[in-house]
Amino acid sequence: MEFEPVIGLEVHVQLKTKSKLFCSCATEFGAAPNSQVCPVCLGHPGVLPVLNKQALDYAVLCGLALNCSISKFSKFDRKNYFYPDLPKNYQVSQFDKPICGKGKITFLINGNEKTIGITRAHLEEDAGKLVHSETGAESGVDFNRTGIPLLEIVSEPDLRTPEEAYMYLHMIKNIIEYLGVSDCNMEEGSLRCDANVSIRPKGQEKFGTKVEIKNMNSFRNVQKALAYELERQEDEILGGGIIVQETRLWDADKNQTFSMRTKEEAHDYRYFPEPDLVPVKLDENYIKSLENQLPELPFDRMNRFTKEYTLTGYDAQVLTSSREIADYYEECANLTDDYKAVSNWVQSELLREINEKKISIKESKVTPSKLTDMLKLIQKGVISGKIAKIVFHEIMRSGKDAEQIVKEKGLVQISNPDELKNIVEKVIKDNKKIVDDYKGGKEKSFMFLVGQVMKATQGKANPQLVTKMLKEAIG
């Protein structure tokens, strides 16, 4: 029997407001435990919430970017359950009137377009963080995170493979980063993902029993957990078993999901309208004004890049994977018309360097004009591609202009045959056997000879010229 996976994702994105959703506490990551709390977010008796306007704007902006319908009327509800990270023992969330309704996103997977439906996106307050000590009898709760605005984005069960889930997450992250409304950092928890997975015999309409997977702290882990879980479910069914509706946790060390095995909990959240908050009514003008704030989004930008800069889909995808990279690329593309070369340099050297140094592209000393100036030196034949790498790293280090570096370090390409003549002759003389090999038909030997000339000139010799002179000399 062949099975079809059915996957839906719930993504929680922390919105990057200065203050919390319902109180004025700061939202900075990494503060001392319980230092960014107040009576309101600690759920002290008698406190009341007041909605942060910026969080609402961000939520609507995200909704628009995810092609969601924006609700003219939305409201907040209380979701009731007990857990120590939830100070009021209810979470202020949205139940039947979320701010963002149905939407969809499109991304490329293996060169093909895939569109995934968004069921809804709603605003809610984040919970605190539980800290488990290895030995002690107690766990501890830090409420700094409590009340930070979250946008919960729920996908339709449209995803069919773990890889699609991975790409979907990337696109969500991409879009939200483009909007600049969240750090989307899975390690710091500003983006979190839970998955609902089931399988069904191919061709069957009805969904199978779904399992919820939690505790995945990277996109790769989501992909791995889904792959594991799909296999587990298939084995279970083929072995004559049944799938139990449950929550399973991903263990990244053991590479497997395992059942939470808690005492059977009634999931009866008793949602009801939050009486302490009034409804939100949004008019056309407001929605328009946010629409006007939307930047060009990654998928559109990618398509434009492929056309405007004649890039491959893959290259355009990498270059638009963050707004900063895409902005950088476009700035370069305004300064040169060698789009392909820029694309190569950005994707290889630049991205590698900033990843290694853990800096942002804006912090890099290789500005678009410095990079394109350097590329022009290659074009003009002043330096070779190989030398350019040296120059690049020197710009990266010192921030000096390419031209200055070339001058100071004497890296100008040797394109004068007179300067190379003696060297070429010496290489032929010192490598008699290899020259004979080449003459006997061993093509590889020729490259060795070129290498020897390059070595002798510290890489400065013009490779085309060297090839030409060697061939002439050997005859």
Binding site: P39, L42, G43, H44, P45, G46, V47, L48, P49, V50, L51, R78, N80, F82, P84, P87, K88, N89, Y90, V141, A266, D268, R270, Y271, F272, P275, D276, L277, V278
Partner: protein
């Protein structure tokens, strides 16, 4: 006459004439508390030291001719569900044992800004759940008119303290009648403002869509003054309304000639106490004597109010009270072995019977499968009840009803019959459901000498209309001048 037995308006007059000092008033009130509170048990907590300190500061300001607030030196007791920084707000519950407020309620902040002197916390039904002040972890409060009787609830301590001259002014809260019913049973003036008139920030929530802070005083004039101080928009309460606060005292002397007073026929039903009914009928005559026009009206959904209320209020309460789990503040069960145990032991030890009963009921009406049948249904009936009032207020300016179907009953009389207890709020509950302002004023006495209260309800944000009518009535009657004998 001792200072403690005077009204705020009288005291402010004397203060302005420099005949007395704020310290004199505060000392006098504390002397009274020390003298009679063993009999009444209106107070859970007093802060004499800080009260006197504050009085001295105000006196100093007065001597230096610095500007003084509207309540310069007048003592106020707070209901035990209003937060005042560092005070042990308890809601008369064991579960808040050890908790000291980490902030101050907006209403209390406003009192302080107008130089009132908070003197302590009044007893109440635990978490404002009750109509008799018997549901308190701090013992029952007794009615100053007859200490075998309950003072009403849940703001029973506030009402009793005013009636017994243990304070000049009091704040209470009213979710289903919790200010008006005890005011009625203790023979004082109690007003529940329009929902949204007074900020709820710092009022420990019982039922958020119904709760409102209000005023308990000896006279209508005092009430108007106190209401003026605590009213107004607050950025910390999304449900407080941004609307100008009228100068309530300035409206009191208006004529009520031609004022149309609705008399709802549904409020004169079987089972109502005869003496209460008689006294309301007499009051109608009194109003007529001043030129007001009684109009018979109908509020057809009156009979559904109690049912509607107990669903909505308990549902909200079940969520509001979930936070009392011992982790961040308050009592924490020391014997808990695991997390669930901690929740269960803390709550089971900390909450009294009535609170548990309401949490269970509220949880039930929201639970899966029952939400539509109970909670949603009640919300719809709430709409019908509100519509009743909207219709009627097109014809009349205010509505006159008894406040409570009976005068104060004996302590213990209804404790084993919660439903019977719930029905004692039958005349007050509708106003909370509709969000309307209501005031209870002394309207007579029973043969056995227990006070009978009269309720006037008004249109939203028309507190000045009912205060004006109440003042007119008060001027023409002597009920408010009679005091309980507390020998």
């Amino acid at each position: 006459m001792s200072l403690y037995s005077k009204t705020a308006v009288e005291l402010i007059g004397l203060l302005n004439k420099k005949e007395i000092s704020s310290r004199d008033i505060v000392s006098s009130v504390f002397q009274r508390i020390e003298q009679v509170d063993t009999k009444i048990n209106a107070f859970i907590y007093t802060d004499k030291e800080n009260a006197l300190k504050k009085a001295d500061e105000i006196d100093k300001k007065r001597v230096n001719a610095e500007p003084l607030g509207l309540l310069g030196g007048v003592p106020v007791v707070l209901k035990s569900n209003l937060c005042c920084f560092t005070w042990p707000v308890s809601c008369a519950s064991k579960i808040l044992k050890g908790y000291n407020c980490a902030y101050t309620a907006t209403s209390v902040e406003k009192l302080l800004r107008e130089d009132a002197v908070p003197i302590g916390y009044a007893n109440m039904d635990e978490f404002a759940m009750g109509s008799s002040c018997e549901n308190s972890a701090f013992g029952v409060t007794r009615n100053p008119w007859n200490t075998d009787c309950i003072p009403g609830g849940s703001s029973g301590g506030s009402a009793a303290a005013v009636a017994a001259d243990e304070t000049i002014l009091a704040l209470g809260s009213d979710t289903g009648g919790s200010i008006r019913q005890p005011a009625s049973l203790c023979g004082v003036v109690g007003l529940k403002p329009t929902y949204g008139r007074v900020s709820r920030f710092g009022l420990v929530a019982y039922a958020s869509s119904l709760d409102q802070i209000g005023t308990l005083t000896k006279t209508v004039a005092d009430n108007a003054l106190l209401l003026k101080v605590i009213s107004g928009h607050d950025c910390s309460d999304s449900t407080s309304i941004d609307r100008k606060v009228p100068d309530y005292p300035a409206y009191l002397n208006n004529s009520i000639k031609g004022l149309k007073i609705g008399i709802p026929k549904e409020y004169f039903v079987d089972g109502m106490d005869n003496e209460v009914e008689e006294s309301v009928k007499k009051s109608i005559k009194t109003f007529e004597g001043q030129g007001a026009v009684p109009v018979e009206i109908s509020l057809p959904h009156t009979d559904y109010a109690v049912a509607c209320y107990y669903i909505i209020a308990t549902a909200e309460a079940s969520a509001n009270l979930a936070r009392f789990d011992g982790i961040r503040y308050g009592a924490r069960s020391p014997q808990a072995e695991n997390l669930i145990d901690l929740y269960e032991k803390t709550k089971s030890d900390g909450f009294g019977q009535e609170v548990k009963r309401r949490i269970l009921l509220g949880t039930y009406v929201l639970s899966s499968g029952y939400y539509e049948a109970y909670y949603k249904k009640a919300q719809k009936v709430r709409t019908l009840i509100k519509n009743d009032f909207d219709t009627v207020f097109k014809k009349v300016d205010c509505i006159l009803t008894p406040t409570s179907p009976t005068p104060a009953f004996k302590i213990g009389e209804k404790t084993n019959d919660p439903l019977k207890m719930y029905l004692s709020d039958i005349f007050t509950i509708s106003l909370n459901l509709a969000g309307l302002p209501g005031i209870s004023i002394p309207g007579g006495f029973t043969q056995s000498g227990l006070p009978i209260g009269m309720q006037l309800a008004g249109r939203p944000f028309e507190e000045e209309v009912i205060l004006n009518a109440a003042y007119s009535f008060e001027k023409n009657t002597l009920f408010h001048t009679t005091k309980p004998t507390l020998s």
